[in-house]
Symmetry: C2
Subunit: 165 residues, 2 copies
Amino acid sequence: MKTRTPPTLNVPCAGCKRLRRKCTADCIFVPYFPATEPEKFAEVHRVFGASNVTKMLRDIPVSQRGDAVSSLVFEARTRLKDPVYGCVSTMAALQHQVNQLQAELLAARAENASLGAQLSEVMLLLSTVTPRASTSAQSLEAGNSVDVAITSAFDRCYSPGPIVS
Amino acid sequence: MKTRTPPTLNVPCAGCKRLRRKCTADCIFVPYFPATEPEKFAEVHRVFGASNVTKMLRDIPVSQRGDAVSSLVFEARTRLKDPVYGCVSTMAALQHQVNQLQAELLAARAENASLGAQLSEVMLLLSTVTPRASTSAQSLEAGNSVDVAITSAFDRCYSPGPIVS
């Protein structure tokens, strides 16, 4: 019994064109390496090799092959730009940024805690010399405006909203 | 004139052992793929192919080849663990962490600014009702202890140290 061979494509994919071979309808590269983007295949071929890329794609479900090709192209491109570190240098830079941001966040939170403590301390002292708005209405008329302003500030400051934790 | 061939090694490197070939003293893999760590070569061979690794190493100065091998082993290992995304998934996770930390830092700094503004406002109001320590010494004895405590808090709070910017 004769096996039916898949039809040859008139326009080969970028992979088959580069490898100078006939491109058929069932070629694994066809959906991901169109002839219009020859550099995509050239890059993964130079870094991973066509045979390794074929093996890797065969081991991945069809629904995920597009993502796999994108990540392979990205890695290959980065390796060609930086032959010593490849995308590991990008990862190191990101890790450095994470460490720096974590340190800045820690400092900002410490500053937050310090400001919050100072504010509490001042409000506590203020409460010992300034009667609350409820009682201030009965105080001497001359002191009223400042007293109410302080009480209002007191109320605002004692509910400053959640401190970022 | 006969070219002198480099001596064959008794213990081949992991690369030559896997490729079943004679390993010589000038083999490019020898310094980086010792026979004691066969998995290192196996991993880069599966992902990049021995021929591509050889080409990549030849194009890199000897002083940087060790770093290049380390980054290739890392990339290969990550690709074997995650065949779809390889180390791109680690990069995406780090980028996500950076975005999250930046948002948290922004919120913490906004909270800092708000607390700082509240503190300034309260201290300003406090200064209108409480004389400074320099003048408080001349005030009535009964008011002195609270007044000095507030002035001391005032001085502390008006120089709370640099706010993280």
